[in-house]
Symmetry: C2
Subunit: 379 residues, 2 copies
């Protein structure tokens, strides 16, 4: 396999790179747009994603395993065909959802026994099952099956959990290699990213980072953050871990976060991001602007003929006023959510483009400070 | 005022025409796409309407008077600016909604006293108020304020109601002329269509048609149908009335109906249609195809890689399979409704285009018979 990740430029610790995949080249740093069930919540289609500058779509293994099932997706030719999206797709491992959504969870060495949050059905998922499901989904990048540990958790529990996550990673790697070599596999070049865990115990995080770096994986993620720790703890953890992960592979901070979180993480060397926040905020009428977040339902926008964000080139801002979108929310028209989700995702994708340009141009630190000032965020 | 309606060709009683408006020419027969609250239910925007071949958007006076209020719409420059739609808009008079939605309704000579269905607020609407609201909305075509009579109703009630509707029409015309001459009016060329009533009493319908024909209006509608009568009663009523309405003005059948209803009404000389049916059906996964209506949630579509309707050029059919759209419904993704509404509206708009071509080509009767056979509808 030829080299997938190319570091094009560094600006401080911020990295500008390219990641080659069978579904096209990803320009990094990148924000992945979350389409849990093979669709973006808020009536946003894969066609819309192209219009708002999305490079990578992210879908959820746990959700798709339950509905419509990965067997159905495989029979339909994999996720790319199913949702009509020809660019890269990353699937998570199902681990996070098993730990956050499923009921009656029992963690054993072999994997996790749990009940479906939809109908209570008993399900088992271990490293092999996660790889098999993701192979059926035929995503571009599969994530290793891990335990996402609650914060705070006792040190001895975290220690044992992280060791098990390492053993699970080994099993994931073996199973993914096997699946990629099978005749009937849809995407035989499916990649595997490992996940660093260790809660906020810096030494456990670092040890685990060193351990998983020895596996020849396609990329590395920092998992288990943005689950209750402070921003400072999150940033410190990223700083500790990044230098112990392979520098010739992309680094992915899972489930993070606000625009400010992203700037801070980029400045610490992170390349990949994903978060439900922009879509979820959009569905509630909370929209990002160059002057911070606003609530479009505020009475002061009743007669405001300006777009959500002046100068924004998203489909909502190019065509509609704040007053109109506010009316749609008040009138409970679905179009309200759609327009705000489109705007927020565009805002994130455009932010990443601006970040890439800033690193290319060698002015990332200034850019970061300027953005924090504009948004009214203390850096 | 130059002549607005031009009859281009007749095929039997079916009329192929053009209707010139300040917002562009409408090719008739035409289906108007219903956007009650200045948006199509199902997260469909005015941008989407262009893509699915919509010529005329229809919004509801009663709903917009309550939310966001016509005063707000007027301050925002009228409906066209508010919803970013530069083609013709027709607003109904509010009459139908006052009679079907509002509570505690009292009909007097001056107008109707009722309570808002949203917050119970007491409201009065008469002919003058309806014209004032529609003038504020600044639609291309305003509808006269009438009483939409329940079917069945006693003959003597219908008689008295129709006479009042005529008196109201007179007041509408005077008020519309006055509003169009005011300095601050947004659309000084707002047109007014009168509405024929009379339930299913053919002689009352005919008398009323003759009476309203004497008013020099821009078009004439047949109202109060599709509210409980049989299809045969509806078709008979259309037949009775059409010949007594001015032949040099467009004829609009309000709130009708199925694709088959439309073919039948066109063959009896109707030019304008509107109906919530395609959007409402779409939101429930009931989609129109060249072989009749199907329920996309049916289990047999689980692995169906075909589009909703083979050969259809709508955004849903060009990009997604039945299996994917079925999954979206099962997973309660809003995108499901959006795709089905887009498809159904496209289906209706395309049907009208095919009807126009059939009249142009002189093969409308064959076309109608063929469609009924394909859809499995008894003609």
């Amino acid at each position: 396999m030829s080299k997938r990740y190319t570091l094009l430029k560094k600006d401080g610790e911020a990295r500008r790179g390219e990641f080659r995949t069978p579904h096209g080249v990803i320009q990094t740093p990148v924000f992945m747009n979350v389409g849990t069930l093979a669709a973006i919540k808020g009536a946003v289609s894969s066609m819309d994603l192209k219009e708002i500058g999305c490079q990578v779509e992210l879908s959820n293994t746990y959700h798709l395993h339950l509905r419509p099932t990965d067997t159905v997706v495989a029979k339909m030719g994999g996720l790319h065909k199913f949702m009509n999206w020809d660019r890269p797709i990353l699937t998570d491992s199902g681990g996070f959802q098993v730990f956050s959504l499923a009921q009656m969870r029992k963690i054993k060495e072999e994997g996790v026994y749990f009940n479906s949050h939809i109908d209570g059905k008993k399900i088992f998922m271990g490293p092999e099952e996660s790889m098999q499901i993701q192979s059926n989904l035929a995503s571009t990048i599969a994530m290793a099956f891990d335990e996402c540990i609650e914060i705070p958790s006792p040190r001895d529990y975290v220690e044992r959990s992280v060791e098990r996550t390492t053993r699970w990673l080994e099993r994931c790697k073996i199973e993914m290699d096997r699946l990629n070599s099978l005749e009937g596999t849809i995407n035989k070049e499916q990649m595997l990213f490992g996940i660093n865990q260790g809660a906020i115990f810096q030494d456990l995080r670092i040890n685990h980072a060193k351990t998983i770096s020895k596996f020849d994986l396609d990329g590395y993620a920092i998992g288990g953050l943005a689950v209750g720790e402070t921003h400072e703890e999150m940033y410190r953890t990223i700083e500790s871990v990044v230098e112990y992960l392979p520098q010739d592979k992309p680094i992915y901070l899972m489930g993070v976060g606000t625009p400010s979180n992203i700037l801070e993480a980029v400045s610490r060397g992170v390349d990949f991001f994903d978060c439900v926040l922009p879509a979820r905020n959009g569905r509630h009428g909370h929209v990002f602007t160059k002057h911070g977040k606003i609530n479009i339902m505020n009475a002061k926008f009743e007669l405001d003929s300006n777009p959500i964000d002046e100068g924004c080139q998203c489909p909502a801002c190019k065509n509609y006023s704040r007053a109109y979108i506010r009316h749609l929310f008040k009138a409970k028209e679905m179009l309200a959510m759609r327009l705000c989700v489109l705007h927020n995702l565009y805002f994130y994708n455009k932010l990443m483009e601006d970040i890439r340009n800033a690193i290319d141009g060698g002015y990332f630190q200034d850019f970061k400070a300027q953005k924090h000032e504009e948004w009214g965020v203390k850096a």
